[in-house]
């Protein structure tokens, strides 16, 4: 745009006229603004003052008391214990450093802790109480209270914190609580405002985690008036929340305690199930750990001690661990063959000590062989060759299908973490996952519970319970929530003939009650309590031809992690089954020698609901067993504590 020069001085009147109109309008609008301001600030001032006051009313959450967890008889497993702590209020303390010095005579305060405290105290407004120490003993609190005049600004307070009185015994079942983390918040879809409270405790593991919503309860609120700097002036009103639901487990704390004491020193797991209703009376994984350490914030040293322990104390092996079931799997093979009609209870198979498949040789555990052997004796003596032959006849598909009927190879719904499904292989599975075709050798390995077959201790207990009852019993861990019994549908019968079941049961009975049975020496002597069971010894290493020729190395001479797993599954009493049990001792050695006595003792403890009478044991063992029992690290019964 090119601009022309023009002489100054030419202006029309129109500009002035329009300007007057425009700026008259602007002046008028400015007047309106002034009037509006007057209206808001003078006429309505009182109303807005009130609203401004409302801006100063805070709503505070009142966290509900967390629901308690009890055992089946009402013994507390997780409780809210009083947590004594000492706080300091700066504006009342005056000389903070002097007060801290005086206090350190009663409660030790480290140099570092002291520096951190001083920083914290100065950072908060003068009226905010700052926690100096938590989890104090009653003596310490009493001492602080007694010295109150010398400790201005120091106050003892009591709060609630989660406590697990039974410690190790229920670490894997009850789990533990811990402060809610950003990770938790990102993972769970929960709008509960409680989760926004810093350090609010939520379930991190086990039952505490799985039924978090029931245990947590619902928050109450209180409205408080704060002044301009946030100091609480008064409470206006309060709405109470609902405390969390109390939960009762099916577990018996005494049996649980016995079970863990019995497994002490090993890396092992065991489960006891009530056959009639599926209630888990005890389910333990050894070694355990103290969940209370996690509540208070576990130290790095303690935590690495747990994670570096080769016995894996943090893992709940009873549901998370999967193992080759070894010979305890033979009942499944036998039932599959009986159901398919490929064997009768009378038919005998010859065991020369090995079974040849092409150029491969599969060995029986007994080098010389069992000779001609029928179903009953094959279970009683745990002959491997008999089951190689059976498996060869029925094939893996029917074996796995049978095992699934008995609860193997599937995830059972329990309020516990990381429940494993185990594995009941099929041809399609191997093709898909491993990418190789199924071989007959795989079937033979599966026949004796080795190879691809994997089961967890809880699954083996379920298998035993289903064998005993002939019904699809389902495990149950929660007895009642808030006093309401959790319902269980009656278990449907299994698709298997009574004769087949009876034959297998008789074989299991022979294992521990007939001379020559693999667990005869670990029998129950009391007639009305006799058990039926099956031993298992599962290999975790391959025995080479050369080693077999030289003689198989004994377990005791192998490093721990290469020894066999020892297994035992059982139920009792044989005539009127009440409890099923499974025991797995990782790298424990032979099942009959190491797992069977543990399983028997646990069963007896459950059957007699406490220490069994000496008559329950074979006469020759009574003295030894009584002595051993005294050595067990058992907790004195509740009420007995001094």
């Amino acid at each position: 745009m090119s601009l022309r020069n023009r002489e100054n001085g030419k202006r029309d009147d129109r500009l002035t006229r329009r300007g007057l109109i425009l700026f008259g309008g602007q002046a008028a609008f400015a007047g309106v603004l002034g009037l509006r301001l007057r209206y808001l600030q003078v006429n309505q001032a009182d109303q807005f003052r009130l609203l401004a006051e409302e801006n100063r009313i805070n709503i505070q959450l009142l966290p509900p008391a967390r629901g308690l967890i009890f055992d089946r008889n009402g013994v507390p497993i997780a409780e809210n214990s009083q947590n004594y702590r000492v706080v300091i209020v700066r504006e009342q303390a005056g000389d903070v450093k002097a007060v801290l010095d005086a206090l350190s005579g009663i409660i030790p305060i480290g140099e570092q802790q002291r520096a951190a405290l001083l920083q914290q105290i100065t950072r908060h407004p003068a009226f905010v109480p700052v926690t100096i120490a938590e989890h104090l003993s009653w003596e310490q609190v009493a001492a602080v209270s007694a010295n109150a005049p010398a400790l201005p600004g120091i106050a003892a307070q009591v709060g609630l914190s989660r406590h697990y009185p039974l410690g190790r015994d229920f670490a894997h079942i009850a789990g533990y609580v811990g402060p809610v983390s950003d990770y938790d918040l990102s993972r769970i879809d929960d709008q509960d405002p409680l989760l926004q409270i810093p350090k609010f405790q939520i379930g991190k593991n086990g039952v505490e985690k799985k039924i978090e919503r029931s245990l947590r309860g619902f928050s109450g609120t209180r409205r408080i008036e704060v002044n301009a700097v946030g100091r609480v002036m008064r409470e206006i009103d309060r709405k109470e929340g609902h405390p969390g639901a109390n939960v009762r487990l099916t577990v018996d704390q005494h049996l649980q305690n016995y079970l863990l004491a019995r497994l002490d020193g090993t890396s092992a797991s065991a489960a006891v199930m009530d056959i009639r209703n599926g209630e888990l009376r005890a389910i333990g994984s050894a070694p355990g750990f103290d969940p209370n350490k996690f509540v208070r914030g576990i130290s790095v040293a303690d935590y690495s001690e747990l994670t570096e322990n080769p016995f894996r104390p943090l893992a709940n092996k009873s549901v998370q661990g999967t193992y080759p079931p070894g010979s305890t799997f033979k009942m499944m093979v036998a039932l599959a063959a009986l159901k398919a009609g490929l064997i009768t209870t009378d038919e005998k198979i010859t065991c020369p000590g090995h079974y040849d498949l092409g150029d491969q040789r599969f060995h029986c555990w007994k080098r010389g062989g069992h000779g001609r052997i029928d179903l009953h004796n094959s279970l009683k003596q745990s002959c491997d060759v008999y089951y190689y032959e059976l498996a060869q006849r029925v094939g893996i598909e029917r074996i796995s299908a049978m095992a699934r009927q008995f609860g193997l190879g599937m995830r059972h719904d329990l309020p516990l973490n990381g429940i494993a499904a185990g594995l009941m292989p099929t041809k399609a599975w191997k093709n898909e996952v491993i990418g190789e075709p199924w071989r007959i050798g795989d079937t033979l390995n599966a026949a004796i519970g080795q190879g691809f077959v994997l089961a967890s201790p809880i699954q083996l207990a379920i298998m035993a319970a289903r064998l005993a009852s002939g019904r699809a019993v389902v495990p149950k861990l929660l007895k009642s929530i808030d006093g309401v019994e959790t319902s269980v549908a009656p278990a449907p019968p299994l698709d298997i003939s009574q004769d087949a079941l009876d034959a297998v049961r008789a074989g299991m009975f022979a294992v521990s009650n007939e001379r020559g049975g693999t667990a005869y020496s670990k029998r129950i002597a009391a007639k009305e309590m006799r058990l039926a069971g099956k031993t298992g010894t599962s290999q975790v290493r391959r025995i080479t031809k050369a080693e077999r020729a030289r003689g198989v190395i004994r377990n005791e001479d192998l490093p721990w992690e290469r020894r066999d797993h020892a297994l035992f599954v059982a139920y009792a009493p044989f005539d009127a089954p009440r409890f099923a049990v499974s025991v797995i001792i990782e790298h424990g050695g032979g099942g009959s020698r190491f797992a069977a006595p543990v399983a028997r003792d646990i069963l007896l403890e459950a059957l007699y609901d406490g220490a069994p009478p000496p008559e329950a044991y074979p006469a020759s063992q009574r003295t030894r067993i009584r002595n051993e029992r005294h050595k067990l690290d058992l907790r004195s019964p509740p009420g007995d504590t001094t």
């Binding site: 601009l3 020069n5 202006r11 500009l15 603004l33 509006r36 600030q41 401004a52 301009a228």
Partner: protein, 379 residues
Amino acid sequence: MSYLVHRVHSAPSGLSKVLALNWALIVLIIAVAAIGILMLYSVAGGSFEPWAAAQAKRFAVGFVLMLIVGFIPLFFWRNIAGLVYTIALFLLIGVEFFGDTGMGAQRWIDLGFLRLQPSELMKIALVMVLAAYYDWIEQPKVSRPVWVLVPLLLIAVPMLLVLKQPDLGTALLLGLGGTTMMFLAGVSWLYFAAAGISLGGLITAVILSRGTTWQILKDYQYRRIDTFLDPASDPLGAGYHITQSKIALGSGGWDGRGFMQGTQSRLNFLPEKQTDFIFTTLAEELGFVGGVSLLLLYVLIVLFCVVSGFGNRDRFGALLTLGIATTFFLFFAVNMSMVMGMAPVVGVPLPLVSYGGTAMLVLLIGFGLVQSAHIHRPR
């Protein structure tokens, strides 16, 4: 070069220009800026950081800039008006492509030392170019359709660009500012009547287009209009700004809670307390007396500009002065209406008081132009 041949009669030159400055205006501007810095000091809880000190520096720079612009002869500004407008327009197009996105809208070009908001620059550039335009065309042509179309385009193009950012407040200011220039220049009433009717049509279209694929405004802009009409409907959501702002204002009462005693702004109940909503802090702490005083200072600034403009026989100088006065008026009128719940929240700062760099600089440059017109007016 044509502008070099321009002859100036009896205009002051050299140091005598200092005496010819509109000193009343300068004193008023300093007073308002001082109030702004004090309020920023208070909002920060009695601290020069992070806002008051920065604001004071910017004002110092802007103030010097104002004097420099004022001392440069007016014909220079008239002759480069078109150039300034063109640059501002290109910068506006530039933010479309190179702009930083702040608060969901593209508004800045980062020059390293300054985050330039071309839309702010355009407010002054538009006034300049329109003043130059109406100075240039023959008086009788003003109302002829072709000669009306040119300024309409000059207004509409930047306005649409700003609307697209989207910045409703600035678009509104540009539109109103430009229209005012046309009105002052003497464009026939009939055009304004027609514009009023079509504006009514546009508003209808905006409302009707909501929720359809050719929706004219963004969702948040619709929500702001909603909450303006009924702020109580969503007091913790979109209506929060308006409700909290009215509470803070109203609770100030006649004489306020006292300097630095405001609870609402201090406790962070208020959003954007240092920028668009700073008037609420002032009104809460200094009360009706303080609020009206600031309003009075603003009105006086406009008044001194208007007096200067009416007394200027140079058409460009007069139009420029009155145009900048109007722009300034629109700033505080829209901002105050907004915080007092009389207009939707549209993001217009309180002139010379709100924290913010470009707005302050551009306003002071505008006042520099007013000074230039004042000093170099024909006598």
